[in-house]
Amino acid sequence: MFDKNNEKEAFNPHLVAFFCNWCTYTAADLAGTARMTYEPNVRVIRIMCSGRLDPQFVLWAFREGADGVLIGGCHPGDCHYQEGNYKARRRFLLLQKYLQFMGIEKERVRMEWIAASEGDKVQSVINEMTETIRRLGPLHLEPVSMRQERSLETAEPDNIAVMKEGTL
């Protein structure tokens, strides 16, 4: 079921979530204790504060095969560390701008404020996002290194026709 090559309907996106320990991760636990079932596609990574979220992690996740990244932090004003979530917000917004420049749909990175009591929000956000990404389809980043997959052809999948034709 985790095979990416199925056609879209069957496509099960891989989502990585970074949840802050105090609000969102706790909310996710709450969703669990309340048995609020949701889509199984998200893999949660716990960080102490959304402020720890280094934008590199997001790109890293994409590079490692994630189709979307969800960032969860405390509501503004509720940060366990006073304002880590604000810092996270600033980075998130700039990162989103960069990613759009790079042709990544902005829905693929989402940031949500989820308080410790909002287990239901964890559920709805994860379901929504899974659905959205399912609609967007898999994110296959272009391979970086030709030394990884040797031949020129695989490194050059498309647009060969252009130069065969000689006209546009």
Partner: protein
Amino acid sequence: MSKPKIAFYWCASCGGCEEAVVDLAESILGVVEKVDIVFWPVALDFKRSDVEAMASREITAAFINGAVRSSEQAEMVELLRGKSNLVIAFGSCAHLGGIPGLANTFNREEMFRAVYLDAPGVNNDRSTVPKEEIEVSEGILTLPRLWDTVKTLDQVIKVDYYLPGCPPPVSLIVGAVEKILSNQLPEADPVLAPDIALCEECPRRDSKPEKIAVKEFKRPHEIEIDPEKCLLAQGLLCMGICTRKGCGAVCINGNMPCTGCMGPVSHISDHGTKALSSFASLIDANDDEEIARLIDNIVDPVGTFYRYSLPASLMHRSHMKAAAKGEKS
């Protein structure tokens, strides 16, 4: 015994790196007498066939500058790799993709359109673009294929060492060459430049305030730049915070912010995004609208954060699948 053999080659580059070699001035003579230059298309008349004729690993060290973006360049560097004992990626383009690497925000078709059709003054009503093969009376003529994607040298062949910089500072080149000749190249860090950020050797270091908070991002032409004060503190996106030192802070001394040609320090995995993270952290605002306003000051995030390192970045290039879907902004 015969002198060590040295080769120079250029791929997608501006020629600046070749200049840098010439800039070695008299110190080049010292080099020249210690070595045989067996291949240097820009300066000496050797042919590809000469290289092909060499034995494997016959060349002591090949200095290759420029990014790799065509089948021909790929063939040449693979050929040189085979014949060389050491391959040194010379300059930002070979190291990280460099300025040509910014082409990775487009694909070939878009580039062809721009260059052969849309550019002002182009008159090309038959919409002709370069063609790989063309049949003429003498037979079939071929052209190398231009790739969609610009690659760093080490994405195409194995690279032993890197000389960063646009172009690499003379001091580093000399140092590298001497190390090669005396056979004492470092084990750990293959990048032949100090592994610490420029701020460390920045002449304006002491003008840095204890704490920095940015209320407005500025571009150099927008302000009267204070020649003494830390550029970041003036709201300029100075890449010196995450870029290797070793250049002697030439840009800073020219009263311009660092643009990152020396490449990232080794402890971060994505030059631009790390810079992005740091700059964003300095934004002195908490409400979304204000943040958005500041972010709008940064008109060209890719060109700002990845001026030299896009192909080497985690994203590597703009996402073509999405671009095809017309979702590329």
